[in-house]
């Protein structure tokens, strides 16, 4: 069997037959992870940071795209550049710190220096180095990523030039970034200081799926649901947002090109409070600015996934999380509390408490998810038989247009909507189609070469 055939076999996608299956091997085969790293993570747009993380000249942060070390710097003129964090002399990491402010980065190995625009300013002992003449004219600056763009202060980079413009890549998923950013009086987002890093011993796609999975909530998070009910009973929940009586309760999703999707739900009364609701005066002001419809959507829980590794969860608080695979069965998560710049001190306090309550390995919900991923990983090693994990919603759809999309002024590729307990799974499909397309594109390209 050719590699090509084996990749296409991993996703059994037959809309005409209402069939969709993902092979168990997609979660367990290290060879597949290698392909994913090269041809998805290191070839697609990747979220690398917020402009507000590096507000001043010479501010920097470091991160990774797939396996590759990345350095983001704001130069003396205020321009943000995104570079591979590797010395042009002999590959050493140029900046070993997470974040800071420096005009120059000096490689500690032999002392080459780079300025905050990435320009190589010093080659130590250059004149005595007996370098060939070609070296003197060579471009020795830090290597820039192939593509680097910004949407609403979210910085994305791609190590491959073969990607659409960021705006096209994000498509109508942008509307759901706007719904978070527009909660700020100045339209900007920031991270609350304090980044949390954790790992789980399972494949990264379990996180990808879980962020789009409302079906698991009552079961996986049963202990958390009890706590929420207990808080509501004892009156310690704080104000809970409510939907207008003419809204039909339910759970829905939109899917976009390039594998992005968003889940949302309409509940008569939300289970959790919202930072926005703690500040009625600002909420009223915001309603005038953005309109009733968008306020309504801002207060609905929305779980956005930008393929392949960014999720923005706006529920009782907002979380921005990214991941990178360390092995086929080990994933490193980076989690931030995401906040509108300029919210009130009380809204910020509530946001932080709600974030800690739900998210992270220390939160009362995410910790259960992490354990579930590990149980799934062990279970995926069983090889006989399909899983039936991607079928909810296939009988009725997905539908191509909906009133919900219309009121937001977006045209998703697919929409789904059902009863509150719907827990649709068709919203995973576009991600898997993009996954298969990127892996196959490589194999096709490789075969031609």
């Amino acid at each position: 069997m050719s590699i090509h055939a084996s990749i296409s076999d991993l996703v059994d996608d037959r809309p005409g037959d209402q069939a969709f299956h993902v092979a168990r091997r997609a979660f367990t085969d290290p060879l597949i992870l290698d392909l994913e790293l090269s041809h998805i993570f290191e070839s697609a747009w990747s979220f690398v940071g917020l402009t507000t993380q590096i507000p001043k000249p010479h501010d920097y942060i470091t991160t990774f795209i797939g396996r590759q070390p990345i350095l983001l710097m704001r130069d003396g003129q205020g321009h943000v550049g995104c570079f591979l964090n590797t010395c042009r002399h002999r590959a050493t990491i140029v900046c070993p710190f997470k974040r800071g402010r420096q005009k120059f980065h000096v490689c500690r190995y032999h002392g080459w220096a780079y300025d905050s625009a990435g320009k190589n300013t010093i080659v130590t002992e250059m004149d005595d180095g007996q370098y060939p003449p070609s070296f003197k004219d060579a471009d020795r600056n830090l290597l820039r990523v192939a593509r680097f763009e910004n949407y609403r202060g979210l910085l994305f980079a791609s190590l491959s030039a073969d990607v659409p413009p960021l705006s096209d890549y994000l498509g109508d998923a942008k509307a759901f970034i706007d719904l978070v950013a527009d909660q700020s009086p100045v339209g900007e987002l920031e991270f609350v200081p304090g980044e949390i890093t954790y790992t789980f011993d399972a494949n990264w796609k379990l996180q990808f799926e879980n962020g789009l999975d409302y079906y698991h909530f009552n079961s996986t998070h049963a202990s958390y649901v009890d706590i929420l009910n207990q808080r509501a009973k004892s009156g310690t929940s704080g104000p809970l947002p409510q939907e207008a009586p003419d809204e039909t309760e339910g759970q829905g999703s939109f899917s976009f090109d390039h594998g992005h999707a968003v889940n949302w739900s309409i509940k008569r009364q939300s289970r959790y409070g919202r930072p926005l609701v703690t500040d009625p005066a600002y909420l009223a002001e915001l309603k005038v600015r953005v309109g009733e419809t968008r306020i309504k959507w801002m207060l609905r829980q929305r779980n956005l996934t930008i393929f392949p590794n960014l999720q923005i969860i706006d529920i009782s608080s907002a979380q921005l999380r990214t991941w990178r695979p360390l092995a086929v069965d080990k994933t490193e998560m980076t989690s931030h509390c995401l906040a509108p710049v300029g919210e009130s001190a009380e809204a910020r306090r509530v946001r932080i408490r709600n974030y800690e309550d739900f998210f992270n390995p220390s939160g009362l919900a995410t910790s259960d998810d992490n354990v579930m991923y590990e149980f799934c990983q062990t279970g995926y090693e069983a090889r006989a038989g399909n899983t039936f994990g991607h079928l909810r919603g296939l009988a009725n759809g997905p539908i191509s247009s909906s009133g919900h999309a219309q009121e937001l002024g977006i045209s998703p590729v697919e929409s789904a909507f059902g009863k509150p307990a719907f827990g649709g799974e068709t919203n995973f499909h576009p991600g898997y189609r993009e996954w298969r397309r990127l892996l196959q594109r490589h194999v096709d390209g490789g075969a031609d070469a």
Partner: protein
């Protein structure tokens, strides 16, 4: 130079050390209710995040913490969650072993005793047959109440803050 302590003060310092060890024992023995009883009803329980390589968060209202609670009832919420047999993180519960050392105490106003210590928790998770450990420092502020000392404030610095899957009150 050795400081001369009043018998009363010496007793309070000894009581502080006893509470630290008792707390560790209750956690490892999973005697959660007794553990929570060591805390004042309005106790602050705080495990801050790290802001960078050197500094931990110093303001829970503007920075992220791993865990921040400002009442005993919030600790009891965590206890009820893992006792409910509905949280998979507790099915089964990891085995833990706390070690505390390098304790120093100082006396503050109003009879408060501040105890600083180093801690290690060895954790074995029978679910996945894996072991790991967390380590860091504690700062306990202990307050005389009903003829005994209770924990009014506990700050937990977690030095290895890249967390494998779960972090709860019993693992730090």
């Amino acid at each position: 130079m050795l400081e001369r302590m009043s018998p009363d003060l010496a007793q309070r310092k000894q009581a502080a050390v006893t509470i630290l060890f008792l707390e560790a024992r209750y956690l490892d023995d999973k005697e959660w209710d007794s553990w929570a009883e060591l805390y004042e009803p309005d106790a602050e329980y705080w495990a801050p995040s790290w802001l960078d390589e050197y500094d931990t968060a110093d303001d829970p209202n503007t920075q992220v913490s791993f865990i921040y609670h400002d009442s005993r009832s919030q600790l009891q919420e965590r206890i009820s969650r893992i006792q409910s047999r509905k949280s998979i993180t507790a099915l089964p519960l990891p085995r833990t072993l706390h070690m505390i050392s390098n304790i120093t105490t100082s006396e503050e106003e109003d009879g408060l005793v501040v105890a600083r210590s180093n801690w290690t928790t060895h954790i074995f998770d029978p679910r996945v047959q894996k072991q790991y450990l967390h380590f860091g420092t504690y700062e306990h502020v202990l307050k005389p109440s009903d003829g005994r000392l209770r924990i009014a404030r506990k700050k937990i610095i977690i030095m290895n803050d890249r967390i494998p899957s779960i972090l709860d009150f019993y693992s730090i």
